[in-house]
């Protein structure tokens, strides 16, 4: 039943039922716990990761759907918090309890890839993750700041060299 999964640029041999939700393969087989479990029914987005560059609620898709596609988790954004979106999140001091923030950042990052200068309406439509602490006010500002920082960086160099950024 073993299969291969490429997470954050590293190939992992996973010995599990391929129908296991991607979330649990990432957390318990690959061993990356930054991606969180909360509702288990794809409602809240705490488990958001990128599969093939798209934001996916990993609690509700089988791992098999990610076979052969690059998976990126919060740990792949940058291990040291130096990615502009993480810098923006820190500048705004956005997280409170922080539990939903990995998923929130992944959803926002997918949006910024598609729309480098998102409007508030874009954010409302695409970042639909739930936060019980109510960090939305700062998360919105952080997304706009991240857009600025990423835009600046894109102007400085072409292409991205993030680990696991295969999109």
């Amino acid at each position: 039943m073993a299969f291969d999964l490429t997470v954050n640029g590293t190939q992992h041999r996973v010995d599990a039922d391929a129908q296991t939700p991607l979330l649990w393969v990432i957390r318990d087989h690959v061993g990356l716990t930054g991606t969180k479990f909360s509702c288990g029914i794809g409602q809240c987005g705490a488990c958001t990761v990128h599969v093939d560059g798209r934001a996916v609620r990993s609690c509700s898709v089988p791992a098999s759907t990610a076979i052969g596609k690059p998976v990126m988790t919060i740990e792949g954004v940058s291990p040291d918090g130096s990615h502009p979106i993480q810098m923006a999140w820190k500048e705004l001091d956005a997280p409170q309890c922080g539990y939903c923030q990995s998923g929130m950042i992944m959803a926002a990052l997918a949006l910024l890839r598609d729309r480098p200068r998102p409007t508030d309406a874009d954010i409302d439509a695409r970042v639909t993750n739930a936060c019980r602490c109510g960090t939305y006010h700062r998360v919105r500002q952080a997304i706009h700041l991240a857009a600025q920082l990423m835009g600046t960086r894109a102007g400085l160099k072409t292409g991205s060299h993030e680990q696991g950024d295969l999109t």
Partner: protein
């Protein structure tokens, strides 16, 4: 492993086990001091490498300062604000401060230093005075903290971390600083009074000598202060760190996924437990067929557990249940979903519905209740009134629904219990662990993790108790119990359903001459039984307040806002109704009634109302379909002690098809003598606007056949980014008292504010929450 496994044997068994995210930390033969080399992002107590200066502070030779935090970071900023209170006095380099959770085990074994037990000054109203934790009935189960244990109060609740901790934490920083100075003074043979400490550097001006905290910390650790009772703390006008906006120290690890929550703990040899508890409280397992799932992948065994001992859950009756143990959680969960389970349920509980409970509230509120206040002559007031206004308001049962589902990792051996958990009340968990396993509290080690939201969640529910009861039947094996979201909605207490009936008599000018307030809530529901706003804040010559109770089987407990949330919804909604009945502006109506009142913080309440009104552009025209509503939020205004006072104006639009949008919130909030971290205060206010927006618009827990119906986010909705107010303006004003706290009962006015705006726009007045269940369309 046999049931008689000892710690030593367990350690031997797992010593070689290592994995990607497994903590291999056991130190064989050193049972008392097993300290995990934790992953980056783990926050629990470790025995220090350098000797500690005192129980709060360790300074390494490189000047890194570890500050022990006795409250739990659950998003409210305590990780940072507690450290700020210590470091204000310590005068260390803030960039080298590393918070770490305090040890609940040491708290069981060590007594509080004598110098922390005496609070000088006049508490709440003296800028030089201290806070004093309230220890309630002074029992030793830790429900309200323990008066003389090392950290005294390890609970994280009631927005009290700053109020209760400030004095002790400043004193801890000051004591350590004085000992560091004494150490340097003895090294140089000069009087300590000639030394200056700043940013972890000690200098002697006369000789030009200089050293660092790191260099003298070991000496300081061995140098007790000869007269610690003479050490004083800085009043707010001398603060340099407190009162400045500091980014939260836990944020960097929360944007990389490194922060270790309870759910992230992995141990060598660990098994996973998925649980099903009887959905009807008071119910238990009648039988289950483990044979049906025994052969499924990874499945190890099933473990039944009884209704948790009410002594461990503050008297609340939860349910019995069963766990399936497997190699991974998803395997355990898959198996338990397929395992046939039969419940036995008390008949009287199984028939309960929300409608029945509502009927019981209506019956109780109509009968004589417990009269709390009876001033003037209410009946005579009604008799002579020109107009009578009556209204009945109600609020539903409500879950907390924090994002991290309940979990705990527990290892029980015959002589020791280890628990990895995010916990708002570790002293209570320690008590539970001892009660369930028989292991003395001095041998219970709680490794505190960051918590994925709190809102009153822990200390109320059986998350730790479930895990301990399961692991106690698997001694020697670490067991990580994790609830599904649906189980999380069972394993929790609820904010009780409430009702209020208000009746006012107005004179010919529209001013109230008599007011009668009746509130009703489930007994122990922290509503009428908590004396939050028994006193009328708005002046009425004759006033009667009675509380009424009912009894149901739903376990109720403290939820963010506690009784205040419902009470302020009732009171402020009714003030809007009275102002409209009087034909007066709701802001000016409130202002006049506060001005007439005889309350110690009257001037502060007027200031809050005036500032919020001014910020919002009160009275200036708005587009059709948009309205403003104002409300006062206060706690403690009736006394002459700690208080928190704010006012908010909510600008709300309602589209013709009934879509509500909270467009803008203007907040005027008092600082008391000083806020510790104004940035965290702003974040808490922003968050509570979202919290009470959800209470107002979306959330309700209903009961059918004795169980909770809304058990996941598809039925218990959480607002998203698209509903968040585009504009939140917060301004502070100084006041002359210490704050009670502001982490749980601010922004309650979102409830009355949206209600009055809906009335202004649609002409319809709704008095039961949430508003989304009503027809809000207009033409």
């Amino acid at each position: 492993m046999s049931a008689e496994v000892t710690r030593r044997e367990f350690l031997g068994t797992v010593a070689a086990a290592q994995g990607a995210f497994v903590l291999g930390f056991w130190v064989p033969g050193k049972a008392e001091a097993q300290t995990p080399p934790a992953p980056a992002g783990a926050a629990w107590y470790r025995d220090p490498a350098a000797p500690e200066v005192n129980a709060w502070i360790v300074i390494d030779p490189d000047d890194t300062v570890t500050v022990r935090i006795a409250q739990t970071e659950l998003g409210q900023g305590v990780w940072t604000s507690n450290a700020m209170m210590v470091c204000e006095e310590l005068q260390c380099d803030w960039s080298k401060v590393r918070p770490q959770y305090a040890s609940a085990n040491r708290d069981a074994r060590e007594k509080a230093p004598e110098w922390t037990l005496k609070v000088p000054g006049n508490g709440a109203t003296d800028p030089k005075g201290g806070g004093e934790p309230t220890f309630g009935n002074r029992d030793r189960t830790g429900v309200s903290g323990i008066p003389d244990s090392l950290y005294r109060r390890m609970r994280t609740n009631a927005a009290s971390s700053v109020k209760d901790g400030r004095y002790y934490l400043q004193l801890a920083g000051a004591e350590a600083r004085e000992r560091l100075l004494l150490a340097a003074a003895s090294l140089w043979s000069v009087p300590a009074s000639e030394l200056v400490a700043k940013d972890s550097v000690i200098t002697h001006g006369k000789s030009g000598r200089r050293t660092t905290y790191g260099a003298v910390a070991q000496r300081a650790a061995q140098t007790p202060h000869p007269h610690p009772e003479t050490i004083t703390i800085k009043p707010p006008d001398q603060w340099t760190l407190m009162g400045t906006e500091r980014k939260n120290l836990d944020v960097p690890i929360k944007v990389t996924g490194q922060a270790v929550y309870g759910i992230d703990v992995r141990l060598p040899g660990m098994k996973w437990a998925a649980v099903k508890a009887c959905p009807v409280y008071g119910g238990d397992v009648k039988g289950y067929d483990f044979a049906a799932v025994r052969g499924m992948p990874g499945v190890v065994r099933a473990v039944q557990f009884p209704i948790p001992d009410p002594a461990c859950t503050r008297g609340r009756i939860f349910s019995g249940g069963v766990a399936v143990i497997a190699d991974s959680w998803y395997q355990a969960k898959t198996a338990i979903d397929r395992m046939p389970i039969e419940w036995t349920v008390p008949t009287e509980n199984a028939v309960v519905t929300t409608a029945m409970m509502r009927d019981a509230l209506i019956t109780s509120i109509g009968q004589p209740g417990r009269v709390r206040v009876d001033q003037g002559d209410v009946d005579a007031g009604f008799a002579k009134a020109a107009k009578i206004v009556e209204a009945t308001y109600s609020t539903p049962y409500l879950a907390r629904a924090r994002m991290e589902p309940g979990n705990a990792t527990v290892l029980v051996t015959n002589d020791r219990v280890d628990i990895w958990i995010g916990d708002q009340s570790p002293q209570e968990t320690r008590f539970s662990a001892s009660k369930i396993t028989g292991v003395p509290e001095a041998n219970v080690h709680i490794h505190l993790c960051h918590l994925g939201g709190g809102f009153g969640r822990n200390g109320n529910g059986p998350q730790a108790e479930h895990a301990i009861m399961i692991a106690n039947q698997m001694r020697g094996t670490p067991v990580h119990m994790l609830w599904t979201r649906e189980e999380d909605f069972i394993g929790t207490t609820y904010r009780a359903m409430g009702m209020a009936r208000l009746k006012a008599g107005l004179d010919a000018d529209g001013w109230p001459v008599a007011l009668e307030v009746r509130t009703c809530m489930q007994r122990d529901g922290f509503g009428p039984e908590a004396s939050f706003d028994v006193t009328s804040r708005y002046h009425v010559p004759s006033y009667r307040y009675s509380s009424h109770t009912t009894k149901f089987h739903i376990p109720v407990g403290t939820r963010r806002g506690v009784g205040q949330a419902a009470h302020e919804f009732y009171r402020e909604s009714f003030m809007d109704e009275l102002a409209r009945a009087a034909g007066k502006d709701p802001y000016r109506y409130r202002r006049e009634l506060i001005a007439r009142a005889n309350l110690p913080y009257k001037a502060d309440m007027l200031k809050a109302l005036d500032m919020a009104a001014e910020m919002s552009g009160w009275g200036t025209p708005l587009p059709k379909g948009t309205a403003r509503a104002i409300a006062l939020e206060e706690r403690g205004a009736e006394g002459n002690g700690s208080a928190t006072i704010s006012a908010m104006v909510h600008t709300v639009s309602v589209s013709r098809d009934g879509k509500v949008r909270l467009e803008r919130v203007d907040v005027a909030h008092d600082t008391g003598f000083g806020l510790v971290n104004p940035l965290s205060v702003k974040k808490q206010i922003e968050g509570q606007i979202v919290w009470f927006y959800n209470d107002a618009m979306h959330q309700a827990t209903t009961i059918a056949d004795g169980h909770v119906v809304e058990n996941n986010f598809n039925k218990f909705p959480l607002s998203r980014m698209s509903e968040n107010p585009p504009q939140i303006n917060i301004r502070f004003f100084p006041t002359q008292h210490w704050l009670i706290g502001m982490g749980h009962d601010r922004a309650t006015s979102v409830q009355s504010g949206i209600g009055d705006a809906i009335f202004q726009i649609t002409g319809k007045r709704f008095r039961d929450l949430p508003y989304s269940k009503h027809d809000l369309t207009w033409s």
